[in-house]
């Protein structure tokens, strides 16, 4: 009886905000900071969470001012309500923020370093700034929204693994670097700006949408999956032209992207595409859809 009422007391929805006090001199690894780890903790406990600053272990409180306030925040699907976590400041030296988070909401008002949201399983991660490399690497679920650009390897796999992103959605409003969605097996990645070379490299399934100019070698080594290029780009000769048509699933995807905050003009929904299948070297069951016309 007592225990359950305790839990009840602790699980008042709160918003926790971490304000960056000082830029660290060397890279910081901050996988300790995610909605799950701060929920039901008071200010002091949050300040005591560990940070790896270069080769030494320090505290969150050494770099952040922590504010905890009760809010009307909504209940998460899962049993206990999670705190909404806000981070404020230029965190581009902070690695691994939101690493492996599985629920809740994390909003970063500033830029972040590499590995943000890597291995994420659920919840929402919003970055109001630029993201570093390996954004959402090996992601399994949830949603990442970057309002700026992202680095290389967004949604990709770490060295050696066969499979990168396995689920969830990554939306990057501006540009993305190389190896976007490399080796992904499920999920959706949408980029509002340009992307670097090797988008969808070695994909096994999933969908990559690029609105701006694609780099070279999109879809190289892909086995299955879909790359949608809303601006034409040069394709490898191991992609073969099939037909020009308007695949219905694009309308579903369009609606979904719209709903998730990836805005496209209304006429994009009715678009027709040139379909190329490839990479022939890997069996040719993947496809690149290149925007053909706006009806």
């Amino acid at each position: 009886m007592k225990a359950s009422s305790d839990v009840g007391d602790e699980s008042v929805p709160v918003r926790i905000t971490l304000f960056l006090k000082q830029t660290p001199p060397v890279p910081v690894e901050a996988e300790s900071i995610n909605p799950e780890s701060v929920t039901a903790k008071d200010r002091r406990e949050i300040e005591d969470l560990p940070l790896w600053v270069g080769n030494s272990k320090e505290r969150v409180g050494d770099y952040f001012r922590v504010e905890v306030e009760e809010t009307e925040a909504q209940q998460d699907d899962d049993n206990a309500p999670l705190a909404t976590l806000h981070l404020v400041g230029d965190l581009s030296r902070f690695k691994r923020l939101g690493w492996g988070m599985s629920r809740g909401e994390m909003l970063i008002r500033g830029s972040v370093g590499p590995h943000t949201g890597a291995f994420m399983r659920g919840g929402t991660l919003v970055i109001q700034g630029q993201a570093g490399d390996w954004l959402g690497a090996h992601m399994q679920g949830g949603k990442i929204l970057v309002q700026g650009s992202a680095g290389n390897f967004a949604g990709a796999a770490y060295r050696g693994y066969k499979t990168g992103m396995q689920g969830g959605t990554i939306i990057i409003r501006d540009d993305a670097g190389q190896m976007l969605g490399a080796r992904m097996r499920r999920g959706v990645i949408a980029v509002g700006g340009n992307c670097g070379d090797f988008a969808g490299f070695g994909m096994a399934a999933g969908t990559v949408v690029v609105r701006g100019a694609p780099g070279l070698r999109a879809g190289a080594q892909m086995r299955r999956g879909t790359i949608i290029l809303l601006q034409p780009g040069e394709l490898l000769p191991t992609f073969y032209y099939d037909c020009t048509y308007g695949p219905l699933f694009w309308r579903l995807l369009y609606n979904y992207l719209q709903q998730e905050g990836f805005a496209l003009p209304p006429d994009y929904r009715e678009m027709s595409f040139k379909r190329f299948s490839g990479d022939a070297n890997e069996g040719g069951k993947g496809e690149i859809l290149v925007c053909q016309s706006l009806n």
């Binding site: 770490y158 060295r159 050696g160 693994y161």
Partner: protein, 552 residues
């Protein structure tokens, strides 16, 4: 002095089967008990380990494992994903390292020691890269080690064997084998798919025992018999260590039986026999031929084998059997590394995962256990997983439980592909290993097969390698976490944790033959090797703590 008192001792070589007995250790060796004088702790520098209620065994010996050298390192390089989640953090007595199926050298030493193993043999060293093997063994803590020198596809061996003059052939071969062993600082002669690797390099298919192999047109049978003869003449303590032809292929038990038949009456160690005991089914699959193979072994006490038990989960297959690795790569689509060691051998690496729901994997798993249970004399069969081919050595405690605990074994069988019962007879086998039998297949047996008289037992004069376990119903838990492990008289593991670090010895042999390349071959060496003869031999600098085991 260190004294282990009141432990229940399992020391099969000395016929001790669970008797309560004290073990005295001085200067890294086990010594006879001095009368009944009770040793007092703190006095005379005597340290006492109270082993009341505990099981005391000699340190474990792995007769066949891939822990060091070029292809192991290729495996590590090929699969960083094997390492990310498995690591040790540096402590004052422990280096940091990583890896699950292919742990780094430091971690390899710690993980073996943490199971009570104190001696491990690296199963395949190509002479040209033997320096690399020894460099890694130098960095493998807590273990005494040695390595076997690959000879089954060596050009010089084949060239000598192609000599029509029988007596000259035999003499040259003896000299060559001695020189190869000496140059590579190996302990025994390893033969991998004799002739088959070379044949594959020529783009040809598999060989039978009597298929002539380019470039010298000698047959696998000639290679095998020639090397076995040389090993006998050199009076090496460990016989030819054979990875037979046709590994992993349905129907290969016939080759295995033919190979054993060719050497009947002589000593031979057949390694990872599980992979060589497959009977073909009409549809191209395979069923267990463990009964046929075990039956033959039961009638031929001159042969020993190790099992190569597969373990469900990830493995990294690596072997000098390059053609096997290529076919595994084609079969699984997994990544593949291959290396061709100019005049000597090939090798390949392919990571894979064994799954209980895969029928072939389930059959392989059952065959391994069938061999353990059907070979009646435990002195003929030893525990290995052919690490990391069948799975990591860290699964030995699990295998021990499978052998000792029939209920557990049957429960595990329920996880398997249901059709496995149609292809194996494991379900009908009720034998359970005793602690003494476990002590034989993990320590005493390998020591005897290797000819190491001061290993694998706890009698006076033995090396003070001791593992002390707490008896438990769950044999896996028991063997995974010894209470103490003593290496060379030093406590290195306590409660399953490494508490001290030291480096072990390297076992070498010195066969009675001139340690030089037969003159007739010098010209070939100069013409065809890419290095100078004088730079070939592994220098003494690469073996910090050698121990030369005299030949019989």
């Amino acid at each position: 002095m260190l004294k282990i008192v009141n432990g229940q001792v399992y020391d099969p070589i000395n016929g001790v089967r669970g008797a309560v007995k004290d073990i005295c250790i001085t200067g890294g060796k086990i010594v006879a008990e001095e009368g009944n004088k009770p040793a007092r702790p703190g006095c005379d520098g005597v340290e006492i380990i109270d082993a009341s209620g505990l099981i005391v065994m000699p340190g474990g010996i792995d007769i066949h494992s891939h822990i060091a050298g070029p292809k192991v390192n290729s495996g590590r390089l090929l699969c960083p994903e094997d390492h990310y989640d498995y690591f040790t953090v540096a402590t004052p007595w422990q280096r940091s390292s990583t890896g699950y199926t292919t742990p780094g050298t430091f971690l390899t030493g710690y993980l073996y020691a943490r199971m009570g193993y104190t001696t491990v043999f690296e199963a395949a060293a190509p002479p040209l890269k033997a320096r690399h093997v020894h460099e890694e063994l130098q960095d493998t803590p807590l273990l005494d080690t040695g390595c076997y020198t690959l000879m089954g596809n060596n050009y010089m061996v084949m060239k000598v064997l192609s000599d029509p003059d029988g007596s000259r052939r035999q003499e040259r071969l003896r000299e060559l084998v001695a020189w190869l062993l000496g140059s590579s600082k190996g302990y025994a002669v390893k033969v991998v798919n004799p002739g088959g690797v070379e044949n594959w390099k020529w783009g040809r298919d598999k060989v039978d025992l009597d298929t002539p192999v380019p470039p010298f047109d000698v047959t696998p049978r000639q290679i095998l018999l020639g090397l076995a003869g040389a090993v006998e003449e050199l009076r090496l303590l460990h016989p030819v260590h054979l990875h037979a032809n046709h590994i992993g292929q349905p129907g290969n038990y016939r080759t295995t039986l033919a190979t054993m038949g060719a050497l009947a009456g002589r000593r031979l160690h057949l390694t990872h026999l599980q992979f060589h005991a497959y009977e073909a089914t009409p549809k191209g699959g395979f069923r267990s031929a463990a009964p046929q193979v075990a039956g033959y072994l039961n009638e031929h006490p001159e042969f020993t084998c190790d099992v190569g038990q597969i373990i469900f989960g990830p493995a990294t297959t690596m072997t000098a059997d390059a053609p096997l690795q290529f076919s595994l790569h084609r079969l699984t689509g997994n990544k593949w590394g291959n290396c061709d060691v100019e005049m000597e051998t090939g090798s390949g690496v392919v990571p894979l995962v064994y799954r209980p729901q895969s029928l072939p994997n389930a059959i392989q798993w059952a065959i391994g256990l069938e061999l353990f249970l059907l070979v009646t004399n435990p002195w003929q069969i030893f525990l290995t997983t052919d690490h990391p081919n069948g799975g990591p050595f860290t699964a030995y405690p699990q295998v021990i439980r499978l052998l000792m605990d029939g209920d557990y074994r049957r429960a595990q069988m329920e996880r398997l592909h249901p059709k496995v019962k149609d292809y194996t007879l494991l379900a009908e086998l009720d034998r359970e290993y005793t602690l003494e039998e476990i002590a034989i297949i993990t320590r005493a047996g390998p020591a005897r097969a290797l000819g190491l008289k001061h290993k694998g037992h706890l009698g006076a004069g033995a090396d003070a390698d001791v593992a002390i376990y707490r008896p438990q119903q769950d044999k896996e838990a028991m063997f995974a976490r010894p209470v103490y492990v003593i290496k060379g008289g030093k406590i290195v593991v306590r409660d399953g944790q490494v508490v001290d670090s030291c480096y072990g010895k390297r076992f070498l042999v010195s066969p009675p033959a001139p340690n030089r390349l037969p003159e007739e071959l010098e010209e070939d060496f100069a013409a065809f090797y890419s290095i100078s003869l004088s730079n070939y031999t592994v220098e003494d600098a690469y073996v910090a703590r050698p121990e030369v085991i005299p030949c019989a």
